[in-house]
């Protein structure tokens, strides 16, 4: 995949909506740190370009990296019939630091690589992922992020990079999930019409209902990302006409485990963002607004891929997904014992998990079904 060239409309969209300026990374940064993250979504969904939805729009999208002073984020905007997938430049930088330090300073994946005594000397006062953003450390390139924050063990540095790729793929695929499901057009046409009158606007903006609808759409986008990044490669593996070898099966289970760990760790990064923005309030990551809480998203990463595989795919696929997911749980429980950041994952052991994490915060089933029926008009199909 070549670095996408931004259209004038995309540049205008970014400027008008305060998403910063589109910028092109240098060739090394693109090839090593960004192209592997963008490519899956770009190649998968380019095949859908031009597909028409029932609401009369032809599927179109553009992707770009933007230099934004806002906190790390990614955006799916919709304007003039085109979906714009924007990645704030701070996100890859912060996530690469986050995963480099995670592999350097915690016992995550302790069987990966040799322990290097020099790793213990790398100490920073900022939370994982925020040493650069807070100004504690200045870096000049993505390569430098790894050399400053990464483990001295080559295997653990490579593992950090692999988890970073998976986490970034989840983020980009989450935004593509909004685009492919037509959420932007749905929001523009049904949720926030600029010409509606004040009383209708107030009624629609009633924070609890409006936020639940948006949070529901966010959950759908997360669900799409689990499917594309975790379940679909397993499905392809199972469908491949080959004699299954034990080592191949082991490798695909290991890959599922690493993807779940990357996704769960990404949710931990979002939790840290919540707490930092709330000036250290450690309950901030439990707050639902127009997104599910970061804790709920973390838990969903560890449970929903299994449910999705069981409901939609064959037993052969769901068996592999289950084994990978449970291997990731073991790793997360070990981490929860040593790092407070990962303690919320202990909730996975609770029998009343759904009650404690989601109940009362989501749309009623009938409301969710009504939204899904409306969304059918906006969905693009090949």
């Amino acid at each position: 995949m070549e670095l996408p060239i931004a259209s004038k409309n995309l540049i205008k969209f970014c400027e008008e909506r305060d998403h910063g300026s589109v910028f092109a990374p240098d060739d090394i940064a693109w090839r090593r740190y960004l192209e592997p993250c963008f490519a899956i979504s770009f190649e998968t969904w380019s095949q859908l370009l031009g597909a028409r939805n029932q609401a009369g729009n032809n599927f179109d999208f553009e992707m770009a990296l933007v230099g934004s002073t806002n906190a790390p984020n990614a955006i799916c905007g919709f304007d003039g019939g085109t979906n714009y997938i924007l990645l704030y430049h701070s996100l890859p930088v912060c996530l690469l630091e986050f995963f480099s330090r995670l592999l350097c300073s915690t016992p995550i994946l302790s069987d990966c690589g040799d322990k290097d005594p020099n790793d213990k000397r790398k100490k920073f006062s900022s939370p994982l992922g925020f040493a650069i953003a807070s100004g504690e450390v200045a870096i000049g390139s993505m390569d430098e992020v790894i050399s400053v924050f990464g483990s001295c063990s080559r295997e653990r540095r490579d593992m950090a990079l692999r988890l970073y790729y998976f986490a970034m793929q989840f983020v980009i695929e989450h935004e593509m999930g909004h685009a492919v499901a037509g959420h932007g057009q749905f929001a523009a046409e049904e949720l926030c019409l600029p010409e509606i009158n004040e009383s209708e606007f107030r009624a629609r903006s009633d924070s609890s209902t409006s936020n639940k609808i948006y949070a529901f759409l966010e959950e759908r986008a997360d669900y799409g990302s689990y499917f594309t990044i975790i379940n679909y490669p397993v499905l392809r593996y199972v469908q491949t006409d080959h004699q299954e070898q034990p080592h191949e099966r082991k490798a695909i289970i290991e890959e599922v485990k690493l993807k779940i760990l990357a996704g769960a760790s990404l949710a931990v990064f979002w939790m840290l963002c919540d707490v930092m923005e709330a000036n250290g309030d450690v309950t901030a990551h439990e707050v639902w607004n127009d997104h599910p809480s970061s804790v709920a998203r973390a838990i969903s990463f560890c449970t929903t891929p299994i449910i999705a595989a069981q409901n939609k795919l064959s037993k052969a696929v769901s068996d592999i997904v289950e084994q990978g997911v449970y291997a990731a749980w073991d790793e997360l429980f070990k981490l929860a014992g040593t790092s407070g950041l990962f303690r919320p994952f202990l909730q996975l052991r609770q029998l009343d998990l759904h009650e404690s994490v989601y109940a009362g915060r989501e749309l009623e089933r009938s409301e969710a079904e009504a939204i899904l029926r409306k969304l059918e008009r906006y969905k693009y199909r090949s």
Binding site: D18, P194, E218
Partner: protein
């Protein structure tokens, strides 16, 4: 929060509802987004309502809700991307100088 910040935030929240993010932006980000958006549209808005009509609408003895209604009516025929009454509230709160001053 000042009244100015509140109207910037309301505009920022409306803009935010037209798109999706990997996570919810902070109030500070939304406030800044609303402020920048209003600044970028200042000239266009001022051309629509004109300084004279704005001064008439914002006369001291007109109740604030009535001022908002008059300005919203002036904006209603134009597609600006944000509901007219949200913009009108911003104009009344921020004042004619902010929008049409030099």
């Amino acid at each position: 929060m000042s009244k100015d910040s509140d109207v910037f935030l309301e505009v920022g929240e409306f803009l935010r509802k037209q798109e999706f993010g990997a996570r919810m932006p902070s109030r500070a980000e939304l406030t800044e987004r609303g402020r920048k958006w209003l600044e970028s549209r200042r000239r266009e808005i001022c051309q629509i309502i004109t300084h004279e009509r704005l001064m008439t609408a914002l006369k001291g003895d007109t109740p604030e809700e009535e001022q908002i209604r008059i300005i919203a009516d002036l904006l209603a025929a134009h597609t600006l991307g944000v509901p007219p009454f949200v913009l009108a509230r911003a104009i009344v709160t921020l004042g004619s100088h902010w929008f049409c001053g030099n």
